[in-house]
Symmetry: C2
Subunit: 239 residues, 2 copies
Amino acid sequence: MSAQFDTTADTVFSEEEVLRRIEQAVLDHRLAPGTKLKEVQLAELFGVKRGLIRKVLTRLAHSSLVLQTPNRGATVARPSVKEGQDLFATRRVIESAILETLIAKINDLDLEQLGKMLQREQQAYLSGDSAQALSLSVDFHRELARMAGNGVLETYLNDIIRRTPLVILAHLGDEAENRCRNHEHEAIVDAIRRRDVKAAITVMNHHLLQIESKIQHKSERSHTDLASLLRPESILHSE
Amino acid sequence: MSAQFDTTADTVFSEEEVLRRIEQAVLDHRLAPGTKLKEVQLAELFGVKRGLIRKVLTRLAHSSLVLQTPNRGATVARPSVKEGQDLFATRRVIESAILETLIAKINDLDLEQLGKMLQREQQAYLSGDSAQALSLSVDFHRELARMAGNGVLETYLNDIIRRTPLVILAHLGDEAENRCRNHEHEAIVDAIRRRDVKAAITVMNHHLLQIESKIQHKSERSHTDLASLLRPESILHSE
DNA sequence: GATAATAAAATTGTTAACAATCCATATCCA
DNA sequence: TGGATATGGATTGTTAACAATTTTATTATC
């Protein structure tokens, strides 16, 4: 398992660092849904006490990336198709509200900032650095939320963003190219620039529905595979 | 402080029970915003170990009812006016989405259930049991969320509902009658019955804006009181 | 008397040892 | 053999003692 985290035995990590690394391992699919997360194992791996791992696992459980069961420890969450659908449906609602709030108050400085972010995204994409491009495309959504200035909406969007990769990976595997399309981000900024709430929301929803539809499609296919329905523990998922 | 919780020394409490009681004390205004929550004190009070109190405080912090500061313990949260506004604005968004989702799928059985809830609310109100009436009026909102069937939306609404009393109390004190008006709940159910999404949302927003406007009004008054602006620790708030 | 430095007390944070629970394997009995 | 029942090891959960930090009280100095 140590291969999953890229640690050396004698380094020590802070709580935040441990959290970040486990989260990243989950989201990068290096830890499959259902994988058992043993406390001592992780503690030794990161060179920290078990108590710290305990805290981290509880925090991860709270953001729905990990499932904690009393007396039976923690496993990587295994979100259902339904949960994925609910998550995306809610995301459309939240992102729409963010756009509406943002457009009511945006200034030229903010618009300039968004323009810069689009450029950086484009640059990363063109230079073939797809990991960086993905990261920047997520940042774009986060930045809209920040600029909108509603802390509660921002928290909820961040929660959803944190959970999204696991939902996608759990149901699409590595098949899908799930990166946001850059030209759609541009279209959103265009609409914001024109203060056109309706257009912005339309583009955003289209944008989000693209990914969503892939999951939907995949889950329909899965349902025709009767064997996998009867045997919930797929061999793909280490237990 | 023991008077705040209504405990006797020799009873023991489960984690859930301790959580519920502290939460209730905060929401009932028996513990003012800013009040220090000392671990040993609470542990002795409930007859539990300090570790359990620790867990509970962390959970309360996560739902924004308690503020935890490293090495300095926990205090009852002191939500800002801004946070209250953001919370209400988000609530309108979430409740609207719930109504839209619900109307698309509601059946006669659900409608019957809602009708029964309205009756019970009305009954409690008429019989003068205002605590019960308040509780049932909150249940009404929760029930709409449950029936809508989107788990993520439901979670977010419950989060907001949990935080709302503290926001109201922190800025309105005990001045306000904040109970939902029963006839507005009836109007919402009417609109749902007619599958009229727009009307339902309009009534709901009106409903929520009523409470919100009271906070707004109060906070404007506060701002004219310069002394309280300069001295953030009001004498009303125990520290 | 106000301010700064110091010491003591109170409070939070951590940990290692212990307890309780779960899980896989072995054992027993029909 | 099949299936229930013990058994031991692994794992999670709890706690009491200790450590670190903050807060309060005391003293010293101007």
